[in-house]
Structure formats: C-alpha cells, structure tokens
C-alpha cells in the first residue's frame, strides 16, 4: 500500500518546486500562484480570488522555486578533526601574536552554460583573540535575493579538545537591509551564528550562493582576495568555465610564481586555479594605499576587450540621457543670461550639485550601474552619483557641450588601470569636452566650485562607455588645491597681540572648509572659530569674523577673523619670544622610521602664508630664524623671515606638493623633508627688551 503513495508524494514535491508567480503582500506574507493576473487595480490570484493592489507590495513574475534543503552534513564535511587541530597548532606557533589565522580559504566560482553561476566558499579559521571571536562568531553574506539564493551547506565549531558543535543550517536567516539614511537598495543579508566560539576554537563553514537569474549570462566577474589583516595558511580560488568560454584575469600582488592559474581543460569545462600558502598579514600604515591595491588578489573577466561592456553600458546610458521638454526648460532657465558656454556649464554644474539632493536608490543592475533617466532625476530632485552624471550630461547636451558619464574607483578605495574589462567601480562623474579642452566634473558633491572636483577623483582611471575608451583624471597642479593665509599681527609692549587673519582657498580644500560652515548652524560659527583659535593659542579672543560666500558655491569662500592674543609673547627674563600664530606643522605620515607601502595622499597641495608682524619699539631683535628651502622631487618648502625697518617682520612660506603618491623607495628622503619642514615651522623669534624700556 505504501508504494501507492510514492508517485503522489513525488508529484506534490514537484509541484512545490515548480516555478510560479509570487505575490508579496504588505503584511509580510507571500502567496505563490501559477499565473497571476493584474487588472483594474486588483491582483487576481485565482478565479474569484482577487487582492486589492494596496495590499500588495510586489509581484514577482516566475519567481524562484523554493530552495532545496541543505545537503546532509556528513556527505561533505571534512572528518579529519585531529588533522585540523594539529595544523591549527602549527600555524599558531608560526603566528603567535595573530588574533586569528585563516587556515582554509577556498572559493570556487562556476559558470554554467546557461549563464547561471554558483559560488561555493569554504572557510576555516582559528580564533586566537577576543576580537576574532566576535568577528568570526557570526557568518554572513550579501545577496540580491531576486536573482540569487544562498544556502549554508554546513557549519561547525571545533573545540581545542576535539569536540565538534554543528550548526543547523536551517538557523541561517535572510533579512532585508535597513538602508543607510540616503541609500536605498533591495539587498539582503544571509547570516548565521557560530556556537561555543572561544579562544582556541576553529570556526568552519561552507556556503553556496547561486545566481539563478543573471541579468546577462555573459556577465561573470569572479574576484578573490588571498590576503588580509590575518595570516592565511592556505587560500585557493577556482574558476570553472564552460569549455567554449574564455577567461581573462589580472593577478595583483600575488607571490612570485602564483600569478598564473593552473589550467585544467576538460570536455565540457575548463578550470583555473590559483593557490597560495602562508600569506603574511597586512600591517596597516598611516596614509597607505587602499588595501585592495596592495593585497594579493585575482580579478577575472570573460572579456578580452571592453566592447561588450561598452555596448551594454551605452545602451543603458543612452536610454537615460533623453532630452525632454522639462529638462530643456530647466536648462534654459538656469543658463539664461550666461555670458558664455563656460558660465553655462558652471551654472548647470552648481545646479546639479545643489538642487539634486544626494539620495541613492538602487532597485536593480539598471539603476545600480546606470542610474535613473535624466527626466526622473530632475523631477524627483534627488539622485546619486550616476543619476547626477546622467542628468548633467543630458543638460550639457542641450547647451551643445559634449559630456559623458564615466565610472571610476575613487582613489581611497582601489587602484585599477582598467586593463581588465569588468563591471567594477564605486563612483560616477562626468567627462566634459569643451572645444579642445577635455576635463572632468563631479556634481555629486553640493559644495564644489566650478571647475573643482572631489579629491577622491584625482589620479584615477575612468571607464567612458559612450566614447568607448578608458580615460585618466590627472592630479591637478598644487595651485589648483591652494590655501592662502594672510595675517597682520601687531604686538604690544606688554605682550598682547592683535591679529587680522584672512584665508582663501582654491579647489577641493575650499569645498571642505565651506562645507563645514555650510552644514554647521550659523549660531555655532563663532564657537567653531573660537575653538579653532583656542586650539592654536590658549587665550585667543575672537573679536569679530566674516565668512564670505558660505552658501553661494559659485563664488570663492574666504574667512576673515580679527582676534586678540593676550599674553602672547613669552617673557623669559629680558627675553621676549613668540612665533607666527598657528604656524606649527606636523606630519603623521612621517611617523614611521620605515614603511612598506607608499605614502598616499588624496591630491596635491599648496599652502601659502604671509604674516606681517609689527613689534613695539622697545623690542630689540635678538634672533630671527634663517631662510630655509627644502626640496624633493615631490614637494618643496620655502620659508623666510624678513625684517623690514626697525619694527616690522614679514614671514612668508610656501609649501607645495605636486605628487599624490610618494613611492616607498623615496620615503627616507621625503620623511627627512617633512621633518625639516616641521622643525622649521616651530622656529621662534627672539627679542630682548631694550634697556630702560
């Protein structure tokens, strides 16, 4: 009898796995139905069964079938517990001060012939400090559950005494992300907890992520890091491709002899394997390159050239850069009365910066990679970097200026020369062609004065799909990132001083200073300036101040302060000693005697100072610091004190750094330079009181 039930049971099982439409309701429940219909504001689930649209959040057409349960643990879990512990002990002896050691770090990417793909990851880590207990006590991964599903295949904690505590894969949960204030996306986190994790435990798990509905079966970009902040005993990446599909890769910072894949060609598939052992941990340094550019990693692509990606991006971008009457009207209004094209560009730039509020809404790869249509962004008055770039390019088109959105990595996140065609990047800005001039604008910010752009964009490669080329944004010359300080200081005989301070800026730094005052309530401006002065000199008293063009980003921003410095002059017997206010310079990037990595700044810099000091007649100059000039191929510094007449001293200095990156080989030279500058900046002027005064 029991056999009779078997076909029915199989049928029921099959039915539950069959594709169906899914209706996600606002109360959190879901309904699966074979052929959902929608008409007249109702979702029709079955004949006679309709749901009003306001109760429905989402209709998923041909939704993913329910996930199969995780396979039984015993089938795949390594059983060699004692071997694991022995190996862990050996590694601990090798790295006794590590907080954790990655014993096994094994990722396998498989592209199927239909474009679906699977990523399987096996992690095994030895916990040696509390920080790692916290970090490795939880496992998790990000996924787009509309196209991907994740499954915890097995997980366990191995105690130092050999006891094994298994995790029930069913306890892993998928949860929606809450977004981050200005960021909206549809991503989910799949996570699980590891039990009984203590110092000495080995944490181990294996999960699988399947992209069951790729937006484009050609798009497959495996990437893997073999190194991090912890020692790695063994790390392996495998990519399996259908035999008829090529794979291209870029191996970065891989150990000698490990950059090339071991390739195994089969009948149906080709496998590529990279494998390393005993990778030392990365030790952070101040102002070092982005970690992704110094760690061992391999990035892969199915494309040799950018053509396919250019085509794909071009299609999406062009669809979004459509001129509408609304955009035309907006452009006409904004540019009305502008004297020339450059002023029109500047006005449009400032408009997109200020009037399009930064809000990032990512619903799919379309908006994720290419943003929303220009008209939509203009209508909503919000958007993120790519939304703004699309709108700005569309607006420029109306005034006859050619512009394209370009995709890049900001210089604090990655360094990528873009030789390998991949869909990677974290920012989008605009390339602009004005006659013979080719330059870049970044309307993402709300504070940059034309034509300055965020420092994060300086010195990076860009992907320009519409021009079908890889471009490069140069680091601007120091003059384009300049701060100028002018001070007039009058010292009185009793040691008080009065100062008029004027500062003005060019480039990204202006944007930063302006932003501070723009986003600080006006009622707090005086406090901020007073604190700044008090930080420089304990008894400084702000008398009055003027901030020019805080809110008008089209005009230069400047600060004027008039302040007093009671007891400014140090009286040491008949000596009178003081220095230029706020002149001391420190360089945290020069802290280490030796470095492993380059010193990396976000951009170039120029600082110009002029301080005119009037001293009382009773002061007789005893010592004036000498003129100094320090030079390296990367930066220069000049400072000079000049006595003008009997009671006037003028200090001038110029610090100019044209390089963004100081190669580590030249660090000793550069460090010495910074130390010289720092020492010079601490110089004091000495006077003696004239007899009888």
């Amino acid at each position: 009898m029991r056999r009779l039930y078997l076909p029915l049971a199989l049928l029921a099982l099959a039915a539950s796995f069959a594709h169906a439409d899914i209706i996600k309701l606002r109360n959190g429940k879901s309904i699966r139905a074979p052929h959902v219909q929608y008409a007249r504001g109702q979702v029709i689930v079955a004949k006679g069964k309709a749901i009003p649209r306001n109760a429905v959040k989402e209709i998923v057409v041909e939704g993913e079938p329910p996930a199969a349960p995780a396979p039984a643990r015993a089938a795949t879990v390594p059983k060699d517990i004692q071997d694991v512990l022995r190996f862990a002990k050996q590694q601990q002896a090798k790295y006794p001060d590590a907080s954790g050691i990655l014993l096994e770090d094994d990722g396998t990417f498989t592209l199927n012939a239909d474009g679906t793909n699977v990523y399987r990851y096996h992690f095994r880590g030895l916990v040696l400090k509390d920080s790692k207990k916290r970090a490795w006590g939880q496992g998790g991964l990000y996924l787009d559950d509309q196209r991907e599903r994740a499954k915890l295949l097995w997980a366990r904690t191995i105690q130092p005494d050999g006891r094994v505590i298994d995790v029930d894969p069913a306890t892993a949960k998928l949860a929606a992300l809450p977004g981050r204030t200005r960021f909206f996306n549809r991503g989910k986190i799949f996570s699980w907890s590891m039990p009984q994790v203590e110092i000495g435990s080995v944490v181990e798990y294996c999960y699988e992520k399947v992209e069951f509905d790729p937006f484009d079966p050609m798009m497959f970009f495996p990437g893997f890091y073999f190194q991090g902040g912890d020692p790695v005993a063994h790390s392996k990446m495998t990519v399996t491709m259908p035999a008829d599909k090529p794979l291209y890769w870029e191996a970065r910072n891989m150990p000698a002899g490990k950059a090339d894949a071991v390739v195994t060609r089969g009948k149906a598939t080709t496998s590529y394997v990279w494998e390393v052992s005993n990778m030392a941990p990365m030790i952070p340094e101040p102002m070092m390159p982005p970690q992704s550019s110094i760690l061992a990693n391999v990035q892969c692509s199915p494309f040799k050239t950018w053509d396919y990606l250019f085509d794909w991006m071009e299609r999406f971008q062009k669809r979004r850069m459509v001129v509408t009457p609304e955009i035309e009207a907006a452009v006409a209004k904004i540019t009305k009365g502008a004297k020339d094209t450059e002023e029109k560009i500047a006005r449009l730039y400032h408009y997109v910066e200020r009037d399009i509020r930064y809000v990032s809404i990512k619903g799919s790869i379309g908006s994720g990679w290419s943003g929303h249509p220009a008209a939509f962004t203009l209508k909503c008055k919000y958007g993120d970097c790519i939304d703004k770039a699309i709108l700005f390019a569309t607006m420029l088109k109306i005034i006859g200026v050619q512009s394209e959105p370009v995709v890049l990595f900001t210089n604090d996140t990655d360094v990528d020369d873009r030789k390998l065609p991949t869909m990677r990047g974290n920012h989008a800005i605009n390339h602009v062609q004005l006659g013979e001039r080719s330059f870049y604008l970044d309307a993402t910010s709300s504070v940059h004065r034309y034509p300055s752009i965020s420092r994060g964009d300086h010195g990076v490669a860009v992907v320009n799909a519409l021009r079908r080329r890889i471009g490069f944004i140069p680091v601007p010359p120091p003059e384009a990132n300049c701060r100028t300080y002018d001070m007039d200081m009058a010292v009185a005989a009793h040691g008080n001083a009065d100062v008029h301070y004027h500062s003005r800026y060019v480039g990204d730094y202006e944007a930063g200073v302006r932003a501070y005052y723009m986003y600080t309530p006006k009622t707090n401006h005086a406090r901020a300036l007073s604190n700044m002065l008090s930080g420089i000199n304990a008894k400084a008293r702000l008398k009055r101040y003027k901030l020019t063009n805080v809110y008008d980003i089209s005009k230069p921003f400047s600060i004027d302060m008039w302040y007093g410095l009671p007891d400014y002059v140090v009286k040491a017997g008949d000596l009178r000693i003081f220095a230029v206010p706020g002149g001391e310079m420190e360089f945290p990037e020069a802290a280490l005697p030796k470095r492993k990595y380059d010193v990396v700044y976000s951009t170039s810099l120029k600082t110009v100072k002029r301080v005119a000091i009037q001293v009382p007649a009773s002061y007789r100059l005893k010592y004036l610091p000498p003129k100094v000039t320090f030079k390296t191929p990367y930066a220069t510094y000049e400072a000079q004190y000049e006595q003008q007449g009997g009671s006037a001293i003028v200090f001038t200095s110029t610090f100019s750094r044209k390089a963004r990156i100081i190669p580590v080989k030249d660090y000793p030279l550069y460090r010495q330079f910074l130390q010289n500058v720092s020492k010079s900046s601490k110089e004091q002027i000495f006077f003696e009181i004239k007899e009888g005064k």
């Binding site: 907080s99 669809r319 304990a538 000693i577």
Partner: protein
Amino acid sequence: MRTTPRHGHWACAALVAACASAWPSAVQSTDVLYMRKGEEHVGRLVSIDAGKVVFVDEDHGPLTFDAKDVQRVELGKSRPGDHWKTVKDIDDPVLLQALQAQVHAAASGYVTLYQETTARLAANGASTFTTRTIQKVLQERGKSAANKALYYLSLRANATIDFGRTITPDGKVFSVADSAIQDGSVYTQFPEYQDLNRKQCALREVKPGSVIDYQTTVTTRQTDVLRPFFVHELFAGSEPILKKVVRVIVPRDQACVYQMKRCGDVSVETRAMPDGTRHYKWTVENTPELTREDDMPVTEDMWPRLAFGPTARWDDLARVYAQKLAPLTKPGDRLRAQVEQLVAGQATADGKARAIHRFLVRNLRTIPVSFYVHKLVPRDVNAVLETKYGNDLEKSLLAVAMFREAGLDAHLALARPQGRGELMVGVPSLGQMSACLVRVRAGDRTYYCEVVDDNRPIDVPAGGLQGVWCLIIDDAKPERVKTPLAPAEAEGVAHESEVAIGDRGVFDVRETTRYAGQASVGMRNLRMMKDAERKRYFQQMVADVHTNAELVSYKLSDLSDLEAPVVVKLHYRLMDYAVRAGDKLMIFRLPGLNYSAYGVGKPDRMHPLDWTTRDRSSHRYTVRLPKGWRVRYVPSPVQVAGAPFSYTSKFEAKGDTVTFEDESRRDVIAAPASQYAAYKAGVEAMAKLAKEWVVLERK
C-alpha cells in the same frame, strides 16, 4: 521628445488611460517594473494577462512586455493626499494652517511648523503611535529633514508611512515614492536578534522653501509590563519647533501617570470621551533651536520632556519581572559544574566574583544588540552558557545565576544610562530602562558590573552607568538605587617622564603611563593587535609628540589580565626637539605635556557643563640638562581653584635638573553654566602652560 516604446504598442494607450482613470485614489502612486535583463521602468502597472505585462512608463509612455522578460513589479502604495497635485488641491486643515505659519528663523536649517504625536492604548492592550511632522526647509543643511527614519520592533509591531509629501515653494505637491522607502533589520548579521527594524524614506523635490508633511504609525499588537506602553516625548529639537502637540488616549478605566520636566507653565488638558476613552493633551509652542556647546548635557536633560504610562510601582515591576525571569535562571548541571570549576581554589567571595566575571566577559561572546531593542525576556541561562554567546541581558542573567550558584548575593539591575537622560522616576516603567548591570555583593564589596566588554574589569563600570538610577530585580526585596560614582582616583591617567637632553640636543625620554578606569579599558584593546601593529601604534604616538621622534622601545603590562593595572612604558628619542636661537640659547617644551584650550573658545555659555565620570590626571617630569647649559627661565607655577576642577603645577630648576609636577582633578560630573568663566580660565591656564618654554643658556 519621446522615444519609441521598445515593446510597446500605442493601441493600448486608450485602454491604459481608461484603466488609470478608474482608480482616482491611486493616481500618484508609482510602480517600478524590473526586467530580467536589468532595465527598470518607473510608472504604472496596467495589466498582467495572457503572458503580457502592460506598463505606462513615466518617460516612455505605454509599453507592453512579454511576461517572461519581466522579473517583478513593485507596486506603489496609495496614500491619503496622493492625488494632490498643487497646493490648491490640499484640503487638510492642519496642513493648510501650517502652510500659513510665519517663520522667523531664517538661520535655522529647517523649522518644524507643526508636530503631533498621538499615542493610543486600546482596551485589549494593543497600542498605536502616530506622529505627523510638518517642516519647512530653510537652508541647504535643512534638506536632511527630508530623509526620514522610523525604528520599531518588527516581531511585535508594524510600522507604516501613512503619507509623505513635499510642497514646493511654487506650490507643487509631490508624494513619496515607494522606491524611496526601505524597511529592514538593523542587526541583519545576528539572526536571532533581528527584531529592530528601521524604516526609512526620502522625500522628493526638497529645497529651501519646501514644506514636508510626513506621518507614520507604529502599531504594537500587545503591550504589558514586559512590553510596556510608555510615552516619552521631547518638546524641542535641534531646530526650532513652532508647535508640538502630544495626545495620549487610553481606556477611561486605565489608571495612568505622567511626569513633565522643564515644561514651564505647560499644563495638560484631559477629557473623558463618550467612547470610553480618556484623552490627555499637551501643547508646547515656539521652542528655539538648540545651540550646541562642548561638554553639554544630553538633550533629554535640557529640553522640555514628558513621560506617560499606566500607573505602576517600581517595586511591583521589579517583582513581576523577577518572577518572569525566575524559571530562566534555574541552573542546570553544566552551569553548576562550570561554577564549581571557576571558584575552585578561590578562598574569598571577591575572588569567586572576579573569577566568574572574568569567565563571562572573556569566554562568552557578546552579541551587541541590547535587550532594549530586542526583548525583556531572554533565553534561558543554560542555553546561553551552552551556545557561549548572548546579548547584555542574557549574559547578565547568566551572571546572576552563576554568582548565586557560587553563594554570592547577586541581582539583575536594569538601568537608564546617563546618555538617555535622567530617569523619570514618577512614571514607573521598564520601558525607561535600556542598560543592564549585575549587582553582586562579594564580601565587603558591592559591584555594579557589566559583563559585555571583554576589556572591562569587574570594578570599572562604564562611565555612562555611574551615578544613575537602576532597578534591582528581586521578588523579595526590590529596590531602586543609584549606582555609585567612581572616585576621581579611579579614573584618569598618570604620567612620569625621565628626560635626558644630550649634548647634541637629542631628548631621550623614558615615559611611564598608568591608566585607570575608562582609559584602562580603552588601552586594553591593544592586546588585540599584533606585535608589529602595536609597535606602529606607539611609533605614531611618539610622533604626535614631535615629527622627529623615534621610538626606541615599549613595554606593556599584561593587558589580558583584568586584575593587573594598565601600564605603558615608552622609551623614545626626539631629534632636534629644542629650538635654538644661535649658539647661546635653547628653548624647549615638556615633551608630551599636551593641554589644549580647544572647547573653551567661546567667551560665555548657555548650557551647564557635563562629563561622564570624575577624573584625576597627573604628570611628573625630571629633565636632565646637557653639559655646559644652565636654566635661564622656567614658567611660573599655575594654580587653578574655584573652577569645577582644580589644577596645580610647579616647575623647579636645581643644578642640572628641571623638575615639573602637576595634577588636575575633577570631583564633579556636572557644573552650572555660571562656573564656565572659571572653568575656561582654568583650562586656558593649563593650555598656556603646555605652550610655555623652558629657556636654557650656555654657561
């Protein structure tokens, strides 16, 4: 210009128009259609039928797709007022009145024209909190008002955005789009602790001059002692509020209590309604924007504030809660064995307490999701011990069970940290408590300890939990007590430096620093670093003294030992540290004496001064001069008194040695604004001293 629809056919346009007009209440809601190949369309779903999806794209007009090419459609929700297109369509009197308001706060980022919160407790214990906020954006920075977020506990409550709209300066009305609404768990990485959700949205068309009108409702299915109905409202914000109304509606026979602070002459209006409810209403008008100052109290302790809840007694709450927890704290065999093992060999009660505490902070991982945003009823203590992880409440309850198993008197203590403002004592509710401690008596010592931080010894409670009210959870002897405030000696840092100035002006510095209290907890984190990282940390630390510093060596006490004091010994050299004026004069400052007057720049102050803990810090320097040089000048002594803190310093030059000693001490954690002048003068005197020079001259 319109583009040709990709799959569309214009024939369906008439149908689309006809269909769309059939649902006037939903006119402005926005749907988003996602294609399998990654494209998306914003507009309006018209139909799904016979393998075809018809959709009106906002920019491209009607489109028809094969259903197999469509991945999903997110349906926009229709909300009241979505059909308003211009200000002329608005028929809501509250909004119309708010739009008429005269605003005289042009310097503010935004102004709240009107805010109303209605909290309703139903007879069946369910509750709803509805808040409507109407704000006018005045400055660029005020645009942030258009990014809204709402937090709620998703396992027992629902949250809805009732409506959200922007009225632009030129009179257009834009409703919130569902694509700009997101709802998800704040703690996604902790699968068992994902209750707290954040629902956020961004409103459209926001610029200076725009008015935002936004309403949310949180509905809680059941309230009781452990899921309390508790209303807590502040009548001020960081920006000005023209009018704020709080209404509370409860069943008429529900005894309730409320407490107000700093509300001046604001009084409550109460009314018994025919529907069997009682209404309470408070109205506060024209509260100014907050002017931020350094070291100011938390806003809860500065602004007008209201607490409201069902009548209760603190003792009763503690008893009920204790009874609820009792079954969860029964020790199992494993727990007993664990305690036995931990206290074996510990002769004193204090030793036992420390051993158990050490085990809990070091061997059980802390899940950083407080009970306050999870639940008041935790897992059974034996389960927590079994999994070796738990949140603050779970670990605290396990601590209580283990201490008791060891024969110690221990209780759970729910507390309201300093950072959330003073406890509203007159409104007993567990909803006011957001931290937990364990009170354990060990011999003649009583600890109020935390068990969540693996760097925190049993006798160093977090600063924010010192001097605060807590409720001792006990069935037999419940009580409400204040946690002790640690003495100044238990906090702060003491430095001792031996400095030798070499003939070439190189400063050889041997510095010993002892860290106490909160500072010691922070320094213990260094144990997580690798040796090379620690070395770099100290290299950077000495480079803060001077760019030319070179670390010679460093030595740390055993940071893993929670009982041992935290001591750091540094040996470093400062090249070219002294400033010279020709060959005859040399001046220097004491290396590492680094006081700053930053924070006291303002000449006067509006708000009281506020700190988390008491503090005592000191420096001692012995500086040996190079051969052939003598002291020409040392700075004068500094003595600060009459401020909320005291400070004394003294330089002394004797032979070839200069010595310096100082001590700053603050025995209070709050001071009125009237003491600011003295405080400022004291801080300035310290900062000035740190910039003073010792002048040497060649003999």
